[in-house]
Symmetry: D2
Subunit: 357 residues, 4 copies
């Protein structure tokens, strides 16, 4: 078990879905960083559940409360601890889960690993709710990166059968990213949003859920950042991205599209542009040999359909060791992808900050 990560910035995340509070400790932040609380709240609102997520940021709950490491909104250099109190944690619905694991959730492996002592209410420490502290930490990281001219933004690349417009991999603008990273439904094409919402509604109406893809870009990175071999930009970011529940794949640039391609078609040649070395294409997504190439960093993740659905499913009773049926009650997201966008941005921001410090 380790909910701790990072080399220079060490992030320790704690909490359980229905416990008293969730939160995190960020160790190693530079001193003297002025935090923009509004920006932090905005990212947290993008991740927070709600009926209409395109509305103005409403943050009635999920208010991050900073306990240490900040004086007068400026970081002191000491560990920044933050908690979010859990409210409205009726756990009655989850009694049954103790015995009957929900398909495609962590319930069963966690039961085995922790000998049944894990807090299973709402998924416990494995809950998607635990991405809130990650978004908080990522929002702090983004502010430091912004000061260094680095911009991070992600869009919903695909939901089910509906795709968004594509990034121009070699010419992503910070402006576009700054639009995406403020939106609660981050897409490049306005049309895509409508179709995606319809796609989600289709599955919701059927007590089902749908998966998707998120693509994140980073501009402003100079060439030669990152370590090599076991410390590549790709390895570091993927370790963070797989910390997000439901993420099942990570690719850089053309990623799995490389499998069917050939070098003549996808090699990224060089040219001198404005007196500087530039790439003529960016199929490698800004990473070569594990190091940044100077082109925008492009990373994509695959998100599986929310496993919690209202339809009846087959499972087993771990006490009686008999087959049984399970219906997961409660309100569940028919598609987690839109809310996962700021989480992906946060994971990338934390990784990039740790790399460049």
């Amino acid at each position: 078990m380790s909910s701790v990560t990072g080399n220079k910035i060490k992030l320790s995340v704690f909490g359980e879905s229905h416990g008293e509070a969730i939160g995190c400790v960020i160790d190693g932040l530079p001193a003297g960083i002025r935090l923009d609380t509004d920006k932090i709240y905005l990212d947290m609102a993008r991740r927070a559940p709600g009926k209409d997520k395109t509305a103005t940021p409403r943050l009635e709950k999920d208010i991050p409360h900073i306990l240490s490491g900040v004086v007068n909104n400026v970081t002191t250099g000491a560990p920044l601890a933050m908690i979010i109190e859990n409210t409205n944690t009726k756990s009655g619905d989850y009694e049954n889960i103790m015995k009957v694991p929900r398909p495609s959730h962590s319930d069963y492996p966690a039961y085995v690993k922790y000998g049944g002592f894990n807090d299973v209410r709402g998924g416990g420490h494995f809950s998607g709710r635990l991405t809130a502290p990650i978004v908080f930490a990522g929002a702090v990281a983004k502010q430091i990166l912004t000061e260094k001219g680095i911009t991070i933004g992600a869009h919903i690349k695909k939901i089910g059968a509906v795709s968004d417009a594509e990034f121009d991999m070699n010419d992503v603008s910070a402006e576009l990213l700054n639009t995406l990273n403020k939106s609660s439904f981050s897409v490049i094409s306005a049309e895509a949003e409508e179709k995606m919402r319809a796609e989600i509604e289709k599955y919701r109406a059927d007590n089902n859920s749908v998966g998707g893809e998120i693509e994140c870009a980073v501009t402003g990175l100079s060439a030669g950042l990152g370590g090599n071999m076991f410390d590549t930009v790709e390895g570091r970011l993927s370790q963070l991205l797989f910390a997000i529940p439901a993420v099942k794949g990570v690719q850089f640039g053309k990623g799995f599209g490389f499998a069917e391609s050939n070098a003549k078609a996808v090699n990224d040649e060089y040219e001198i542009k404005d007196g500087r070395v530039a790439l003529k294409s960016n199929n490698n997504g800004g990473v070569l040999g594990g190091l940044t190439s100077g082109a925008p960093l492009i990373v994509g993740v695959a998100v599986k359909p929310t496993p919690s659905i209202a339809a009846e499913q087959n499972s087993v009773n771990l006490e009686t060791m008999e087959n049984t049926k399970l219906t997961v009650s409660g309100r569940h997201d028919p598609c987690i992808v839109p809310r996962a966008v700021p989480v992906v941005e946060a994971a990338v921001a934390l990784g990039i900050l740790d790399i460049i410090l």
Copy 2:
């Protein structure tokens, strides 16, 4: 820079393509493990270059020489150091690379990162040759895993437009894996091999190269292994897999296929089978909530086309800062995928061993 990885087993890899020797130190191996040298040589032969890789293991070069940590073929518990002497390292061909970076290689970012001091001959420390020590370490790890009933094997899932037969994700047999992990062209379907060889030849004849996919499976893992959040099985393995040059994507189970799917179709339900908890499907590739589910672990990687091709490419001269043309001479693999199979197995073996110790 860090060519060191692992928590309990720390692997430190060193060497440059045209330096005196490459090798590794494996720290933290259990004492008392009897090493089967033949099996180690077999894996290294699978990775080694050669005209006909289906022939019996010939290992005229790339002989691993163990310096410490082993007495009478049994591990002592002290760090195991191994070197492979570099022979036949004519570097004349690479003089030009100092100034003109090869497209899609590490040359340019490494030049920036190391201020031109990096050893660029043959790619230096970034060379695919550095996967030889990884294969060695993985072969050692495999032997420890075998004693614990864990079997690892991978196959070429795709080369260009040609696909192999598929793993039965929920019922991969150790027997199949043991066939794959001894082959020098690891495919499930014999027909696929022929077609893949033809596909490769097509690109080779055109001074081009082609990409592909490798899929690796692990059987014998009990449920509940791995850590959570930043220490998931997925995060750990991906960090190791991205250490392999040319790997640009990593996915588990259905991976990017999840994007277009829905929960009803892909949720992995449970059933009691032979008195034990079993999964009815394994779309999650043996990992749920970052922990092993008890089903076979299935991980896939995307491999880009070898960037070194004999065709002329555009690049720049880093000294004169002018555009120029580059032709990479020397014999280069038109497809690195077959040789990368044992490297993928090795990375997975190292990750799994570190997780279960």
Copy 3:
């Protein structure tokens, strides 16, 4: 900066002396451990300030509040987060410290390191108050160790010119340790306590403070525990012990006494005793070659006199860069040694737990 430590048990400590709260996150605790709150409170009371520390545990303040990782007093395996709210934090007294660093405190180096952004009130994150979370975490660790038959206890070896009776290094009893680790003034000899209290009073009356030594023992450790070279029992424990403010030296067994000794006098010979391998003496303090020898572990630390004294001292004004005088107001410990005893036990407990898990 890193207030995070540990391999298997990762402890992240946060907070500032006069901030809103201090606390810690303990990541990696085994699931299913029943916590004895009374024992935790007892250790925290031993560390807490107070007029008469031999009185029954009074814990009006410094109440640890567990936020996660524990359900019904049993650990869940998820990170255990704990906070202690800071109350009564009048900071008026410390305004001056921003500009005039207190001699022998962290003030000046921290000012340089954090560019003046560090929270200097009460010493901020460098305050001795931050040992409260360490004591909490150590108390949790002790409970796990107790179940494994491992006992930890420390005594005040020396305060100024007054020494306690000595441990019989090769025959420390768990009973003695269990008496010491419940006391608020831990000494072997009752007479020593009286003399030490008089010694402290002598310095207090003079607006001065006095240093001392603490010696900690661990029984119940089997032979062969620990790692080697950079992962010795000695190295691990010393890294934790130097985290305690005022600790300036760490020694094992005879420690600095070895300098004047010879092998014939201090070599620890072996004998068969009750059918098992035993040491005839334990000058090495239970550690040989960095590994436990099976004899009791004995570690001693040197504690410097509390630097905060009421007497006037020379310092400088960091703004005007002029010499000035400083009188540290507020109530300060004339001797920190008695309160540091449970902190030393906690640091050792955390180190040992991380080693044996």
Copy 4:
């Protein structure tokens, strides 16, 4: 087990006393550092055994052979691997040790830890011979530090009853350190050397050995370096220093002398000197709150008498579980302290380099 250390500079040490070779891998060295081979050889000669160690550096054996990471004597930024071949490794003398552990050596705990599989010949991986790679790595580190104006040197503070002159803690000169770090018997006072040699001879003649103390100083460190709490300068250096066999205590500045002192006597007050903040005394040995204070860093270590002596000792036979007598044959150092001086310098250099990078 972990013979790997460091955050930014990762050092992996391997080898066994009577194996084929010992060596190390240094990962994370900056590129572009020109190595002065003579200086490296000098340090290795200071550590190497020999009749008259004051003679000119003779390095017939123990020649470090660099395998990677260096081209034309300049670091490439890739891992630097180095091996020293073991020659003259007659192991006949050690047959008996397999069964009869030498008192105060690692033999018995290592036997338990590694189940008898460890290479016991000459102490195996626990041998003092393994300090040769540490000295090598430290010599490389020293060269990088020298370029940054940082100087490291140590002296024999005490051997048995004989003490050297003392460092002026607050005014150590780089000149003195540069004399000490070139000497094969590093003392401040020439008279001390004579007396110390006589002291050693006294014990040698009696088939005995004697302990001592080494004190190391570092000049040129600015204030505010190091991390806090678990990452203090003291914690980092002590972890490295305890990696040296025979080191049983580590103290900073006045160290254990603080126990009998009071704040008025030992607090290090500030003054403005030459327009800068300076300390009026340096009892804290250059570290306050875990951070460098700007004064010279002063660290002392206690070294126990070499446990291998020619006199007969009591031990046990681990096979028959009976008491027995043991006489350790072979030539052994009657005092390891002079040879340990460059090892202490190396450990400190590695720690400081890791801290400042």
